[in-house]
């Protein structure tokens, strides 16, 4: 029992990332009908927003500390972040410690801007072109974005730690009445899951309970009629693209403490996220979220020692295997609408 619970928990954080990226992909596909291969790159850029902010916060100047000396007896030079000068040492240190959560505020406007520029500048011209062309141009864009990031940040992963309050793990099992030390779970993964649930809830609430969301949903169902009613649906879809980019970016920001960001992390996630979208059903938002969590948990079950001993290598291929079976037996995916992209 506790082993099963542990695997479910382990699957949650990866599942959350899959669900968030797949949600953004589906938003773009459902509204604009575009297959966006650059979505993984947006996830990666989000992660590098966190890196950028924590670098900005730790910008320092040298100060000569008279009280300490180096091994030659000269006064020691210390780097002092400008933040210490502005907010004092304790507050400054706390801000630097919380760089990753603070990056959320920084990443939202940046990602929306990138998304809108991308849609207006490039994707707009590809609505009428075949899906293959959309895949190819966004694939090219993904390469370009990835290389730009690589040029400025280098090819090595950049460690970006979580705030000190969330480092370390806690005994989740003891909390709900199991033997102590059976289910140890890192705090930050729980934070990530909660954050993902919050974002997903917010997106659904936005679509369900606001007028803007209603118009967007109407546009997803029947774009032409909405246009005939005198509503500028293109403008709203552009904003939705920005929003989808922000969702992917936030998923990236919060993922940095779990995995140090590097320039190809987006591509690694992208392939799996596409599989997730297809399993969930092209164009179905709840399907994308459900499939994201489902596949994340399935993957962590498949990496249990007992399962690997039974079927070697299953942990490497389980997601693809599920996708192949789903595509062949139920092409519209778990929750896809009938007739949407079914051929």
């Amino acid at each position: 029992m506790d082993a099963i619970l542990l695997q479910v928990l382990n699957g949650l954080d990866k599942g959350s990332a899959y669900a968030l990226i797949a949600l953004g992909l589906t938003l773009i596909f459902g509204t604009l009908g575009v297959v966006n291969f650059a979505h993984g790159a947006l996830f990666m850029i989000g992660a590098f927003c966190a890196v950028t902010l924590s670098r900005l916060l730790t910008l320092s100047h040298e100060v000569i500390d008279e009280t300490r000396t180096d091994f030659l007896g000269n006064p020691l030079k210390v780097d002092v972040p400008y933040l210490y000068d502005i907010f004092g040492e304790t507050a400054g240190a706390a801000i630097i410690d919380w760089a990753v959560p603070l990056s959320i505020l920084f990443a939202i406007p940046v990602m929306i801007l990138i998304g809108v520029v991308m849609e207006r500048g490039l994707i707009k011209h590809f609505y009428k072109r075949p899906h293959a062309d959309q895949i190819l141009v966004t694939f090219g864009l993904a390469i370009v974005l990835q290389e730009i990031i690589k040029y400025y940040y280098g090819a090595n992963p950049i460690p970006t730690p979580a705030p000190a309050a969330f480092t370390g793990s806690f005994d989740f099992g003891a909390l709900i009445g199991f033997e102590p030390n059976t289910i140890i779970y890192p705090y930050w993964r729980l934070v990530y899951f909660a954050f993902a649930a919050l974002i997903i809830g917010a997106v659904f609430a936005f679509l369900q309970f606001t007028t803007f969301g209603m118009v967007v949903r109407a546009g997803m169902a029947d774009r032409e009629t909405v246009g005939l009613l005198g509503i500028n649906i293109d403008k709203r879809f552009t904003i939705m693209f920005g929003l989808a980019a922000a969702v992917a970016g936030l998923a990236g920001v919060m993922y940095t403490p779990i995995n140090s960001p590097n320039y190809h992390m987006g591509m690694d996630f992208l392939v799996l996220s596409f599989v997730v979208v297809v399993v969930g059903g092209m164009g179905s938002l709840p399907g994308a979220v459900l499939a994201g969590f489902l596949l994340g948990i399935l993957e962590s079950f498949a990496s249990m020692r007992e399962v690997i001993d039974l079927i070697p290598g299953i942990n490497q291929v389980i997601i693809y295997l599920v996708a192949i079976i789903i595509l062949l037996t139920r092409p519209r995916g778990l929750m896809g609408r009938k007739g949407v992209m079914e051929d």
């Binding site: 899906h131 293959a132 370009v144 290389e147 591509m267 490497q316 693809y320 595509l327």
Partner: protein, 401 residues
Amino acid sequence: MFGLEKKDRSLLILVALLTIFAPFILNPFPEGSAMAQFNAGYPDLMQRFVIFGIFAIGFNILFGLTGYLSFGHAAFLGVGSYAAVWMFKLLSMNVVPAIVLAVVMSGLFALLIGYISLRRSGIYFSILTLAFAQMMFALAYSVLTPITGGETGLQLALDDPRILDGAGASAGNIPVPSLFGLEMRDSADLVLGSWVFTFNIGYYFCAVIMLLAFYLSIRIFRSPFGMMLRAIKSNQQRLNYTGLNPKPYTLAAFVISGMYAGLAGALMASMDPLAGAERMFWTASGEVVLMTILGGAGTLIGPVLGAGMIKYMENIISKINSDILHGWFAFLPDGLEDFVVTIIYPFIGKGWHLTLGLIFMAVVIFLPGGLVEGGQRLAALFRRKKTSTDDGSPAKTEPAE
């Protein structure tokens, strides 16, 4: 001749001449001069030109004709490589059995994967092929290590059986792949003044095979079978209505292009007898897509051009560093020189992928027909301007379709 039309025949002859004289054409700069780094006439790179040319020609038979975009074609290349290296290990260092087994194996894999994947079309087909290729990559990397060598890759060893070669043949050294005694890595140098031209047996072997593959693809393009594939691309539904089942045709195209990929993989292993799982990774599949689109999907010569261009960029542009750039722009005033170098620097050396991505995007946006279409447009422009005179190089821009 060869059962080709006049236009196709001249194209084939042109390609043949280009490949035969490639060691001269690709080495235009004398040894030791400042431009010598742009010489591409060394065996390793020339081999890659033709091998990836074969790979792209095969991919084009599927994508160019039927419009099915496979994102997992590198898997067949990997299968071909593994099969060839196993032949080297078990049977003989002769490349013929290796190539035969590689083509057969990759054909079988393509038959299986194609049979399943082709039940869907459009984006679903792309994702299915991607999923299969990633699965094969993951398995080759982990569980199948006894067969594939896992992370280190599959390599030759001294104690391999090599039944046909006999035990004493290797005499303490790991033997090299050969064609009935002609060692693939043997080359002859021709020194003309300050120029050095290298003629490599491996290169000419690959080149001959590429010409055969190219000829076969011309025949496929011009055959009723090729016409059927084009019909699938333009309107599958109408094809169904006329009472034709498109599936066997698409599957045949998929298997043929998978066999081309396996052939390319076998040649890679013949030039350098090792095989690694990274050849099957999905970025490798993406690369052949780039090559085909860049050159011009659906045209005869396009994929070969694209493969050549990408491999040239990979090897030559990535070698330029900032010192060389400073050397080029030394004539500019100091401040301006530094400025120009700073602007260009991100696009060269390690940043060549950036250049590639930008060129690729530009091609998809402005020139969906690739370099071939660009050439045709240029030719049309010239023709309009000087209607009476011959246009510059009709051979290069000759519409292949």
